[in-house]
Point group: C2
Chain length 227, copies 2
Amino acid sequence: MITSIHNDKLKLIRRLRDRRGREREGLFVAEGEDLVAVGWEPEFVLVAGEDVEPELLDFVSTLGSGTRVVGVYRQRWSEPGGDLSVYLHGVGDPGNVGAVIRSAHAFCDGPVVLGPDCADPFSPKAVRASMGSLFARPPARAGFEELPGTTVALARGAGTPLADVEPRPPLMLCLGSEREGLPEELAAAAALRAEIPLRPDGPESLNVAMAAAVAAYDLSRRMADHA
Amino acid sequence: MITSIHNDKLKLIRRLRDRRGREREGLFVAEGEDLVAVGWEPEFVLVAGEDVEPELLDFVSTLGSGTRVVGVYRQRWSEPGGDLSVYLHGVGDPGNVGAVIRSAHAFCDGPVVLGPDCADPFSPKAVRASMGSLFARPPARAGFEELPGTTVALARGAGTPLADVEPRPPLMLCLGSEREGLPEELAAAAALRAEIPLRPDGPESLNVAMAAAVAAYDLSRRMADHA
């Protein structure tokens, strides 16, 4: 039973809160029973009251009071590929990155590909938002110019509604940051440009995780119909 | 210039952090320039450095350091209605409620209808997640049995894919809580039951805000095609 905050495992868990610590160690943390239950083989797991004093686990957890289980895992990355996948460019919010990993897992066979300036998918918020899909479908890393498949830029004002995009695999849905969208040069360089039609009296944009879910649903459904 | 934390406006803003305070006053707070810029006529607005000392505004804001504008507004509620709208039952996460208000604004003409045990749409997190759509399309309150239109229960295992639901208005999409979904008796009482098909190797479920966005997109698009 760990009874001191100076314990090496607890100190490691604290270091893994920061992106730099995670990158240096190549590890990350999943907090809570639901997540740890679906995780890979962990480096180690700490259970409150069994392996560690509950207050000490609370102290190192980002969930705070009442955390019952924390697991430490080695990071895994996939290679881009599949008939349908999602590329994110400059999506800095870890909750959005995690949510896209979850939605893509529901509709795509390829991993989410993270381009420059995206939040770390192994940050506590992203891990939590992915709800276990991070374990089932580890993300990939690549620049826009390295993407396999037919790139489809989701861009406001593209003119072509998403429903008019021919669902011919392999397709790579490309989305940009919440505020600025995809950089113009990338949207121009994509093989196809499309948009999700919003009501004229509607909002200016969708949240990036919503847009990814809607687009992946639409294309995956029509791909299945054509298959 | 407000220079004391004992100022009545600042004390009001603090009280409006709590649901009970909001319900008692019938008011709510929008924080940040983006939101205040799209808001209704406010009860009052406080600008850091003009109306109030910046540190004092930081102190009452849930955004914390660097908040530049806070507006206080009277709550408005809509009546349920429209050709397409979303009903939420027991969705307790305010971020999800706000996100659904934003997505519904993009695809539906009716307001989001909040049933029992939903998070307060006027809480700071919900207001922020709605990104101004709360102002454009104030939510409604009703119980399931009072809903107008043809109720479509989104329920896992419903058997019927959403794409098979005939898009004949008025439709009321009904979604339950993140963990439990719609209570079984409500799903059974709905006019129609449908599900969003997920990959067999995919996650167990979608986030409720993602599911609402996908379903509202699918039905709105097909309603427009049939119109």
